[in-house]
């Protein structure tokens, strides 16, 4: 499993041709207490950069963009029912969706962990 990061503070973990996607620990800290999450329906396809999900704190609403093109094959209903899970474990149990990717080259172009750490430093 390889994990990459986007400039919009998402993490993307690749296993076979499926990626798990969530927001980074840094993003969750910046956002504060998450009170609402809206996820796309399974089966829906997105191009890289499309609005894919919404995450809201007490203060503000943020869009989560599709970090990579492909089709939604699974969504994490747990964070819809209990949005605080996103803060508790953003890079684990607080994952958002799983996507079957259509353009593997997009994954390769994302930042690795060292590059993301530099990016938020």
């Amino acid at each position: 499993m390889t994990t990459r990061y986007t400039k919009d503070h998402e993490w993307v973990s690749l296993e076979g041709d499926v990626v798990s996607i969530g927001i980074t620990k840094h993003a969750a800290e910046q956002l504060g207490d998450v009170v609402f999450v809206e996820l796309p329906d399974g089966g829906k396809s997105f191009a890289q950069g499309d609005d894919m999900a919404v995450v809201e704190s007490v203060k503000a609403a943020s869009d989560v963009y599709a970090p990579i093109s492909g089709e939604i094959i699974e969504t994490n209903q747990t964070i819809v029912d209990d949005p605080a899970k996103v803060n508790e474990d953003p890079e684990g149990a607080g994952w958002f969706v799983k996507i079957k990717i259509s353009k593997p080259e997009e994954f390769e172009a994302l930042m690795d962990e060292a590059a993301y750490k530099d990016f938020i430093a």
């Binding site: 956002l31 504060g32 009170v35 007490v58 609403a61 989560v64």
Partner: protein, 394 residues
Amino acid sequence: MKNQPQTPQPQKSPLRFLPLHELHVGLGGKMAPFAGYEMPVQYPMGVMKEHIHVREKAGLFDVSHMGQAWLSLKEGIGEDGAHEKIAAALETLVPGEIQKLKPGRIRYSVLLNDQGGVEDDLMITNPLGDENRGRLFLVVNAAVKEQDFALLRTKLGEVADLTVWETRALLALQGPKAADVLARLVPDVADMPFMSMMEVEIFDSKAMISRCGYTGEDGFEISLPASKVEALAQYLLDHEDVAPIGLGARDSLRLEAGLCLYGHDMNSETTPVEANISFAIGKRRREEGGFAGAEKILGQLRDGASKLRVGIKPEGRAPAREGTEIQSPDGATIGIVTSGSFGPTFGGPVAMGYVNEPHTESGTDVQLIIRGKPAPAKICDMPFVAQNYYRAKK
């Protein structure tokens, strides 16, 4: 992840810093511009826990950005009838009963323009002591304080002087434990009536303590010299029940309490009747008029207004933010959300906004257009969380 657009804050002159700026930074406060000041939005505790802390214990807010000023008669300070004179002057701009406001008492009111629109909301205090007859102490919103002061000088300049108290800081201590905490320093605050003020000597200087606030909880606002505010803040924060609270929780607390945020929930184009704060219009004033915009406001009191500020309860989990369109179930536009968020104590999304008649009745079904999709909601009574103001024991 990108923040969705929010209503932009107008940026004017360079940012100003609070007297307690270093303290906020030292406490880990996340600072951001608000009303021309660099203000703490939240501390490491986070908005949600800060909010709950105020409802359960006590929170300290630095509200030194607010405008504090004295309105004083040009002549005759201390004389019999001086209060009635300064009050009558101010009553030309506010619809509240000020002439009968007793020394040591506070009234919430609004500054009006000639069209009956609200230029700001404010607290008006009649100070204690015969020698202060003919003076009124005003606390106004930071974002519009310069306009407020200009309006007061222009309209009342012939009879009154306005002295802005630039060297003054203002702290708010709010929550069910606020009285216990402050009574350790000033025992007499324990049985102060709600909306009253007392003058005390603390940290070798004169302070004014007012029992009021902006959270729906019991609490106090303490006006004192900026040079002493750090000593007071440290004293209060040393108490285990007190936590520093940022603007984020201040906003969610006042929203749950159903209180207006000026510039959002009312502005120069909304009247106090439309803003649903008609309680601020005194009984005598309704009979006599004699305030800016009286014709329109009294007309609305008599005939009703065409729109009204109401509480809105989304039925789903998605918060409806400021600017969200409100529609009737058949899809007609009937209003707009002016404040909306998640209510941490309420435990769900809450909002307020303006809707047109005949959709203002509590229980009316509406829909909110959130990210292009209709979400069901109901008009509801406010506050969303019961107010917990102090009532004197008989």
